[in-house]
Amino acid sequence: MPILSIKKLTKSFGGLMAVSNVNIEMEKGELIGLIGPNGAGKTTVFNLLTGIYEPSSGTITFYKDGVGKEIQGLKPHAICKEGVARTFQNIRLFKDLTVLDNVRIAMHKNVKYGLLSSFLHLPSYYREEKEIVEKCIELLKVFNLEHKKNEYAKNLPYGEQRRLEIVRAMATDPKLLLLDEPAAGMNPAESQKLTELIAWLRKEFDLSILLIEHDMSVVMKICERIYVLDHGMVIANGAPEEIKSNRRVIEAYLGEDVNNA
């Protein structure tokens, strides 16, 4: 069963083709890597997928229970409501809010009590707020951040901020999770742990994951398929073994990263 189908996706900024004619097919439950040198257009693909940019042309179809819906051009919040969540490469937490609030905000789309209840704090407010906090704590526990729930997000160490970004995305209850360099800036041990966590998440929450990562060891280890972008174009896609030995990929990377992995 497919979950995502990107067809001829193109985005140009003035004269620059940041993404050009990209096709990506993803099956439900897959963990796919999206790699490529700096400026290849990886983050731009995520921004197109989540509605932050509107594509110049092309279609993005998101499938729920086998039923497809074109989501290109929808507002980001609407795409999130469809079940696509993401993290940001350049961490965009709500810095001056607590860890708990960061996660609670992401649960907003499933909150049922209305404005009246929020002004008057009717029983439905107390009931649901309690549930929200419980759910947040549960999620924070999974990521070992529960003891930091009252800390301001900006005060967390870098690695924990990256993890909180994932918790926040998970709190929106996504079907498709987009991770933009989640291990960036982490030390090898942290990065190793995160890799295991991502693999575990996918199973536990029945997710499909699209992962951008510079650290080849991470991608090669957990992704079953990899798409390689260069200058906005897909230059290769396939299993990690095929990608490693692909001549165009080696050229794009000047050989080093891929061989070291």
Binding site: L93, I105, H108
Partner: protein
Amino acid sequence: MKKVLESSVTKKIISLSLTFVIVQILIYVNIINSYLQATLATICINIILAVSLNLITGFTGQFSLGHAGFMSIGAYVCAIITMRMSTIQGFILGVLLGAIAAAIVGFLVGLPTLRLQGDYLAIATLGMSEIIRVIFLNMKITNGAAGLSPIPQFVNWPWLFVFTAGTVLLISNFLKSSHGRACISIREDEIAAEAMGINATKYKVIAFTVGAFCAGIAGAVYASYFYFIKPDLFGFLKSIDVLVIVVLGGLGSISGSILAAILLSLISTYLQSFAELRMVLYALILIIIMIFRPQGLMGSKEISLSMFNNLGNRLTFKKGRT
């Protein structure tokens, strides 16, 4: 019993009733004389204005310079109604319709303008409030530049208390809800908020509409207490006045807004006897506070009863050791 006393709702009720009763007694024994009562009314009206503008600017992060416009709508609607229906029912109807009219205008103006960012929004809201002023200046029913008077006076301390406490409670409740957090997340990072499923436009418009509604209440209370209104009272400077209170108290702090509203209302009342010096001193005080506390008196923190508890605990702890 202890549990009941400790629940935040009970605490709120106790501290609010205490405030009400103490002020009522002070009025009764004439410590708060009729001159000070006018100051009290100014304080309450400024609290309503500041807290509601804080919702828009401090919590949702939308820079608005149009609060006086919304206030004037509430004032005129209430004045026009009570001048034709001089009963308490007429007054209540006037406040309600005044607030609703302000909210409707807020909604209609907010829908297109809240797509604008920062400075552009400030200019658009400023323009809107000037347009409203010019409309009131040229309408027959509002009596043009001469304004309306005498407006039947219904507002006394109990009414001031109901509207002020009501506004503060509703807005602080809202901010502690998921919908309120949605507003705050827009201030923090609009793109991230959208990506987490928050409809930014919707929540900006909600904050704007609620803020306008409350400003309408403030205007209605003003008209009914001071029994005279004219368009000039609701000019650009009035919006700036409210903004100054909000910034001084701290963007994103309800208790800060309340504190600053009290402080600035008192200062400007007492400076009234130094007419020439007044604006200079006022400006000077602001500059000094902004140099030493640029985040405002409270930053984005709130005064809470538990703060006093903690302080109390620390003091008793120290005593116990010595």
